[in-house]
């Protein structure tokens, strides 16, 4: 019993947190700020609970599997959620339905936990739905905005569609192998046409969630229409969780079919890099801009994973951590400015350095990290991803990705130029940050600088894999 609790430490603590928010509505209505503070506290508690050492193991006849690596990945996600909520403190305070926001976010995170812990396609599918559906509701949480409704509709339709494809793949796989368990599947995979079809369908399901080209079309509209915290959640936390389980799926479950998924990954990696970058070049809305840049970032992960090299998993997990800091840093600044002034367009950011030097530096460093420029952690993350790609001797793909880094730098520099070099027509006012926002910014900027220059994070990940 105790052992089961220990194995599910993340899930149990998070469930308790979610239940608290269910109960809290029963009592007297309190100020939004109070709820927000309660949320931070509960999430901090989950983070602490996640640190309790626990042995690797499995539960429910292998449906739920955990290890030190999985446990660490869950802690990354919890930490990321806490960071992004702190960064959107201002948005939370103004909201009328804060307990619901927390409840839905916690449910979705719970889904992600089960997702990366799943030991069978059944659990995988259930967890995926739990992780996705609350987000569709959250997309529409700025109730008055028409764009938000559009985002929610697109989100729900695209996820329903991808779930359908995923289920079809799962059923084909079950039909040809007779099992859904991750441990039994590899032995029964023989590369028959049916299984390869199932692989392609499953991959499509993943591709939707990871916004891999050509299944990315929903991404930009949903990111633009949703409130900033939800966009951040989608692009950082939910995508991070998907990358983790994607690694497991490729490197454990579908290892025997490597010859097939290798081709899929190489093609989609190149397409994702190209399309993500080309579309990001012309974006004027910063949320949309970050959406397309995050599509391109996934392209780099695919370059690494396609190699099938041992290095690739560590590099991908490390990159998710780096990406978490960089993207939350960037979104935090965008969110703070959007909440304070309502402005989200690139032209509004002209001359921001004059009025808000600290926010400008935070945004610039985060963007440089996303672009992969030292001394930020993004440089190391990208370097290791490309290194993993090169380990599979796919130098052409790596060269293509390296050239794409130059293209990406072009559009990140557009923002930097607006911040530092251009003269504003109507300068933004000086934006004062509140304590939680400042904490989130400091932590993410520190993370952007520290996780790269000091090798501890990478070495821990590499040891656990």
């Amino acid at each position: 019993m105790i052992e089961a609790l220990l194995l599910m430490k993340h899930e149990m603590s998070l469930t308790v947190a979610a239940v608290v928010f269910l109960l809290v509505r029963l009592g007297r209505t309190r100020a939004a700020a109070t709820y927000a503070r309660l949320g931070y506290l509960l999430l901090g508690w989950c983070l602490l609970a996640g640190l309790i050492p626990a042995p690797p193991g499995q539960l429910f006849a292998g449906l739920f599997v955990t290890s030190s690596l999985v446990s660490m990945q869950k802690s990354f996600l919890t930490f990321g959620l806490l960071l992004l909520l702190l960064a959107s403190d201002r948005w939370l305070r103004r909201h009328d339905y804060v307990p619901e926001v927390f409840l839905l976010l916690f449910s979705s995170l719970l889904g992600l936990f089960f997702l990366i812990s799943s030991g069978s396609l059944l659990m995988f599918y259930l967890a995926l739905e739990l992780a996705t559906l609350p987000i569709a509701a959250l997309c529409n949480f700025d109730l008055q905005r028409r764009q938000a409704s559009e985002a929610a509709t697109k989100m729900i339709l695209s996820s329903a569609f991808s779930s359908g494809i995923l289920l079809f793949g799962i059923s084909l796989l079950y039909g040809s192998t007779g099992t859904l368990h991750f441990t039994e599947l590899p032995q029964r995979l023989n590369g028959s046409a049916l299984q390869v079809t199932a692989l392609v369908l499953l991959f499509t399901g993943f591709a939707f969630k990871l916004s891999v080209v050509p299944f990315h079309l929903w991404t930009a509209d949903v990111y633009e229409g949703s409130p900033v915290p939800v966009t951040t959640y989608l692009s950082v936390i939910s995508k991070g969780g998907m990358v983790f389980i994607f690694c497991t799926a490729l490197y454990q479950v579908f290892q025997p079919l490597q010859a097939y998924w290798h081709v899929l990954l190489v093609i989609t990696a190149a397409a994702t890099l190209l399309v993500g970058n080309l579309f990001a070049l012309r974006q004027e809305n910063l949320k949309r801009f970050l959406a397309f840049s995050s599509i391109a970032q996934v392209g780099f992960i695919l370059v690494a994973l396609s190699s099938g090299a041992e290095l690739a998993r560590a590099a991908a997990v490390y990159f998710v951590l780096v990406y978490l800091f960089s993207n939350i840093g960037a979104f935090a600044v965008v969110g703070i400015i959007s909440a304070a002034t309502g402005k989200e367009r690139l032209s509004d950011y002209r001359g921001l350095y004059r009025s808000n030097p600290r926010l400008s530096w935070a945004l610039a460093l985060s963007l440089f990290s996303l672009a992969g420029i030292p001394p930020t952690a993004g440089f190391f993350g990208k370097f290791f991803l490309l290194m993993s790609g090169a380990d599979g001797r796919q130098y052409l793909l790596v060269a293509f990705a390296a050239v794409n880094m130059v293209v990406a730098l072009y559009y990140y520099l557009r923002v930097v130029r607006a911040l530092f070099m251009e003269q504003p027509e109507a300068p933004l006012p000086i934006v004062t940050t509140v304590l939680p926002e400042r904490a989130a910014l400091v932590i993410s900027v520190a993370g952007v600088l520290i996780t790269g220059l000091f090798s501890g994070a990478y070495e821990t990940i590499a040891r656990l894999i």
Binding site: L311, F383, A390, A402, L409, V416
Partner: protein, 497 residues
């Protein structure tokens, strides 16, 4: 000697400026830091030569190795040979001169000096690294400062030029990155330069990695046809920025070609030598001919930089010990000379508010100090004996003539003939600026002591190298890619000087 200091001091200086460098204090702190760096580099020279006398056989000395990313065999690995010491000294001199030239920067001086100092730190890092990953890290570290320095404090089409420069250099980095990865997985799975050198990469690997690395680093040193960032970038940058870019950043490329491409892939270096020689010659000729057409004095110096850096590429391509020494000497000489040029152009521009040659004239009467310095820089550029340019270029020619084949000798003849073109544009430009009736002077304030000091420092370096090249030649003697050289051509007749 502790090599960390040379990276730590600039980093600490940058942090100090960022935290406490309000107003005029920024320049003060930056200058103090630069003086310490120059002191350290001289100390490095002294300890290095002293150490060399007792331990002649070691390739790299003062090594420090700290495992950085253990699972990936990446180490923070520093060490120097004679070439690195020469480049470090060049960097220290140019950094100090650049900082002295920037005392007058009034728009956001704190940010300016922080970025300028960071740029220097990146250069030291590249010259001191013995691990290809560390080297690449420091090479890319300069991207952010370069972009902001040109984009914020530059002039003219500064935003366009900053972007063009950064993107082209990033393209170079991308090629270097792929090349480094190819070297890592094609070789001993290590980025350590001594390890890769001793394990000797397979010829098939060398064959495709060498062009990537050489072109990648070549972009930094204005290798034809990737030279187009040089004129735009240099002319748009603020004075100190131009000095750093032309004096130090372009040398990162030449140094990278030597240290990684030629040093680690001797077979490929020989195989591609003809191509490199031809590209070097094109850069020399094309650069000098293009300079003839320039009307803007900053563009003039930028195009002549392409021509002068062609000598570096040519020296590396000729593959004799003497020619390689010539390439290194040319890097040092061009670094000092071009920094001096840009410094003087900065001084003149402050007083004329124009860079168009035909709008200036007779400035010798108005500012004799600056124009004399310009004159000396010009003479150095056209290779007058007694100044550093002569030593460097003559060494390349002598080294090239040692190669008996037709291509090398033709290349030497072509490169020699470019000096005539250089004389034409230099003398014409200086005549226009210095002689004739006084024109173009707008604000005749005197040259400040900081500016004088910067100019004298650079002039001192040029004369020291020109009149007494012995010490520099001895310093780089025995360093560099000996494995790439054909047998029987290693004897270096430097006694000529």
């Amino acid at each position: 000697m502790n090599l960390h200091l040379l990276i730590l001091i600039p980093l600490l200086t940058a942090v100090t400026i960022a935290l406490w460098g309000r107003g005029q204090r920024a320049a003060l702190i930056a200058t103090a830091g630069a003086v310490v760096q120059l002191g350290l580099s001289v100390l490095l020279y002294l300890t290095f030569t002293a150490y060399r006398q007792h331990h002649a056989g070691e390739a790299f000395v003062f090594e420090y190795r700290h495992v950085w990313y253990g699972p990936l065999q990446i180490a923070y690995h520093l060490g120097v040979d004679g070439i690195s010491v020469a480049m470090v000294m060049l960097t220290a001199i140019v950094v100090l001169a650049g900082v002295l030239m920037s005392w007058e920067v009034s728009y956001m001086p704190r940010e300016f000096h922080t970025l300028l100092t960071l740029l220097g730190a990146g250069a030291y890092g590249v010259f001191l690294s013995l691990d290809a990953f560390t080297l690449f890290f420091f090479l890319e570290l300069a991207v952010l400062p370069k972009y902001l320095l040109i984009g914020i404090w530059g002039s003219g089409k500064k935003e366009y030029c900053a972007r063009k420069l950064v993107l082209m250099l990033m393209l170079g980095s991308a090629l270097v990155l792929v090349g480094l990865l190819g070297m890592y997985f094609g070789g001993p799975r290590s980025f350590s330069i001594p390890d890769i050198a001793s394990s000797r990469l397979a010829p098939e690997v060398q064959q495709w990695v060498f062009p990537l690395l050489f072109t990648g680093f070549g972009i930094f040193t204005a290798l034809f046809p990737f030279h187009t960032w040089v004129p735009d970038g240099h002319s748009a940058a603020p004075t100190a920025g131009s000095m750093f870019l032309a004096g130090i950043s372009m040398k990162l490329g030449g140094y990278g070609c030597l240290r990684t491409a030629t040093h680690l892939m001797p077979d490929a270096a020989q195989q591609y030598a003809p191509t490199i020689i031809v590209l070097g010659c094109i850069a020399i000729l094309y650069g000098s001919l293009a300079t003839l057409m320039q009307k803007d004095i900053k563009y003039l110096n930028a195009y002549s930089s392409i021509s002068h850096c062609g000598f570096v590429v040519l020296g590396i391509g000729l593959l004799t010990q003497t020619a390689l020494h010539g390439a290194v000497l040319q890097m040092v000489s061009h670094g000092l000379m071009t920094a001096l040029f840009f410094a003087v152009i900065g001084i003149v521009y402050e007083r004329t508010h124009t860079r168009q040659l035909r709008e200036m004239g007779g400035l010798m009467q108005a500012m004799p100090f600056a124009v004399t310095a310009l004159f000396l820089a010009g003479l150095c550029s056209l290779g007058l004996p007694g100044l550093s340019g002569f030593v460097a270029e003559a060494t390349v020619f002598v080294g090239g003539w040692q190669q008996p084949d037709l291509l090398s000798r033709t290349a030497v003849v072509i490169a020699c003939s470019s000096i005539v073109v250089t004389a034409v544009y230099i003398l014409r430009a200086i005549g226009q600026v210095a002689m004739g009736p006084l024109r173009g002077l707008v604000s005749p304030h005197p040259v400040s002591w900081a500016e004088r000091l910067a100019v004298l420092l650079l002039l001192g370096g040029i004369f020291l190298m020109g009149l007494w090249p012995e010490w520099l030649v001895q310093l780089i003697q025995g360093s560099g890619p000996a494995g790439a050289l054909p047998d029987g051509l290693t004897a270096a007749p430097v006694e000529a000087f």
